[in-house]
């Protein structure tokens, strides 16, 4: 390869190499900058930064736990709500819907993914929050009020509203990845099940078994999106640094904290704390995305072996 001669090709190769290398440089630069700028709080609070429950910038008290909790809890609510819907839609599109119907559904899902985050947030404030305050929350408290999750004052703004908004936002991505994964399952697998006297449901289970790790990858991708989502969640979650078991209580997430507080972070230690919590978010999303890539690689090789079998 390297002995190929013309200057043009050498130039071409160098340009591509620079482009590829720039990605590495950018990631490294971001990481370096974040670590560098969060050194003051890393040195001062150590692990206590991650486990502290109080966030009082005026007293120079910085505990990130409520934000880590809020980020994870809202994302988990989003996943719990979104996974059944996404799987249902994807299975319907691939296994049952006639082509005439599958295409418009796919189009609508892409449309959902294209709606700007701030629009979801506005919808959350003006439609979803009052709906939860006046109907859904009342219903949940009437029938499931004995659960600690559904106690407390109903304002419409809080963890549940945030989780539902996130669920809406990650459903398109999970649905479309799951759809691709299901479509990659060879038809011969479905026929094998049908030929043994499998019902539609049993055949679908065989298909899902083939697609299992790809579906897991899709879910982790959705989780990554939910963890990093900022604008919509900051508009509906209530921005309160507390850890409460009640889903009606306001909470906060890392991304939302950063978005709403960066402007007022004037002193060095406050700034450092925000950057350190940003670093935590960066690492969490990095791990989640790496996990997703691994899972998808695994399903890709899995379906290949089924094909060549």
């Amino acid at each position: 390869m390297s002995q190929t001669g013309t200057i043009g090709d050498k130039l071409f190769r160098s340009v591509l190499l620079i482009a590829a290398a720039s990605i590495l440089v950018i990631v490294a630069a971001i990481l370096y900058m974040m670590v560098q700028n969060s050194l003051p709080t890393i040195e001062r609070f150590g692990v206590g930064f991650l486990t502290g429950r109080e966030w009082k910038p005026a007293q120079e008290e910085f505990g990130a736990l409520p934000f880590i909790y809020g980020t994870l809890a809202s994302s988990i609510i989003a996943l719990v709500l979104s996974i059944p819907i996404s799987l249902g839609v994807a299975i319907y599109m691939v296994e049952q819907a006639p082509k005439k119907l599958a295409r418009p559904i796919a189009f609508l899902i892409e449309l959902l993914a294209a709606i700007p985050s701030v629009v979801y947030g506005l919808w959350g404030i003006f439609v979803l929050a009052p709906f939860i305050r006046d109907y859904l929350g009342v219903f949940l408290q009437d029938y499931f009020g004995w659960l600690p999750f559904f106690q407390g004052r109903l304002t419409g703004i809080g963890m549940l509203t945030g989780g539902i908004i996130l669920a809406l936002m990650i459903t398109p991505i999970i649905t479309s990845v799951v759809r691709d994964v299901l479509e990659a399952v060879p038809t011969t697998q479905r026929e094998a099940a049908l030929a043994l006297g499998a019902t539609e449901w049993e055949t679908t289970r065989i298909v899902l078994g083939n697609a299992a790790s790809g579906i897991a990858g899709a879910v982790v991708l959705g989780l990554g999106r939910a963890i990093g989502e900022t604008m919509a969640i900051t508009m509906v979650i209530g921005n309160s640094a507390q850890i409460s078991i009640s889903l009606f209580e306001p909470a906060n997430t890392i991304a939302s904290l950063l978005a709403s507080n960066f402007a007022e972070a004037t002193d060095k230690i406050y700034m450092s704390a925000l950057i350190e919590i940003g670093l935590v978010l960066f690492l969490v999303t990095f791990v989640v995305n790496a996990l997703a890539k691994l899972l998808i690689l695994k399903v890709a090789s899995g379906t290949n072996s089924a094909k060549h079998a």
Binding site: P98, K99, P186, T187, T188, Q189, R190, E191, A192, A193, L194, A195, L196, G197, A198, T199, E202, I206, G209, N210, G302, S305, A306, A309
Partner: protein
């Protein structure tokens, strides 16, 4: 000889394209019937009408009567799931599930609830593997992945999987076309062995294979059944000029 499947005046369409024309045929019980013919002649399509596997293609449509044990499988209200349990199928490319060898064979038994208990399940799986001439090769690794088997072993695993639900008819769609000669020979021996218990219909591109394994042979061309006769006669003294031309390799 009693006929197991009786097909009369079967037409088949993919959308507006007609793929099978007015096919009538009696498939005898506990014999091997081979379908031969050039690519695209409709022999696979015809095979798949016998367990209604074409139902999975939205634009496909069959007209006519296919009776198995006297019952029209295209009658409204037919239980397709029960039909397919009775009429098993082995495909061109082996398609084991991404499960262990044991679970592949156990699958059909489980979904149809055929086993009484765990020991019975084990017994049924082993019997199916034995009947498919695979047990000796895999008995030490029943719990390892089916994908670790060779191509020929995977195809015999698929046969075992089909046998495990105790079908009465087995449809085979070019079951050996992706296999080497030795693996092919094993499948052929198996087919001859299996006809003691099952009625078998086998689609094949390989005319030697048809002559080796089948009792009767049907020759298809362009969606029409040209000739259906005992294999011996078909390959020595066919009634139709087209059959002779095809068998002697003058075309196709």
């Amino acid at each position: 000889m009693q006929s197991k499947i009786s097909i009369s005046n079967l037409d088949f369409y993919y959308g507006k394209t007609q793929a099978l024309f007015d096919i009538s045929m009696e498939i005898p019980e506990r014999q091997v019937v081979a379908f031969i013919g050039p690519s695209g002649c409709g022999k696979s399509t015809f095979l798949r009408t016998l367990n209604r596997m074409n139902d999975t293609i939205p634009i496909a449509r069959a007209e006519g009567v296919v009776k198995i044990d006297g019952e029209n499988i295209y009658a409204p209200g037919t239980d397709v799931v029960a039909l397919r349990r009775k009429v098993g199928m082995v495909f061109q490319k082996s398609n084991p599930f991404p499960k262990s060898i044991f679970e592949n064979v156990a699958y059909g038994i489980r979904i149809n609830g055929l086993h009484k208990n765990k020991a019975d399940l084990q017994e049924r799986v082993e019997k199916a593997l034995r009947d498919a001439a695979l047990l000796n090769e895999v008995k030490d690794r029943l719990n390892s992945s089916a994908f670790g088997l060779s191509g020929g072993q995977q195809q015999r695993l698929c046969i075992a999987r089909a046998l495990a639900v105790q079908p009465e008819v087995i449809l085979m769609d070019e079951p050996a076309s992706a296999l080497d000669p030795i693996a092919t020979q094993k499948i052929e021996e198996l087919v001859v062995e299996l006809k003691k218990q099952y009625s078998i219909v086998i689609v094949t591109h390989n005319m030697q294979q048809a002559s080796r394994v089948s009792d009767k042979t049907a020759f298809f061309m362009l969606g029409k059944l040209i000739e259906f006769n005992p294999t011996q006669k078909m390959f020595t003294n066919p009634d139709e000029r087209l059959t002779e031309d095809y068998i002697t390799g003058r075309f196709g």
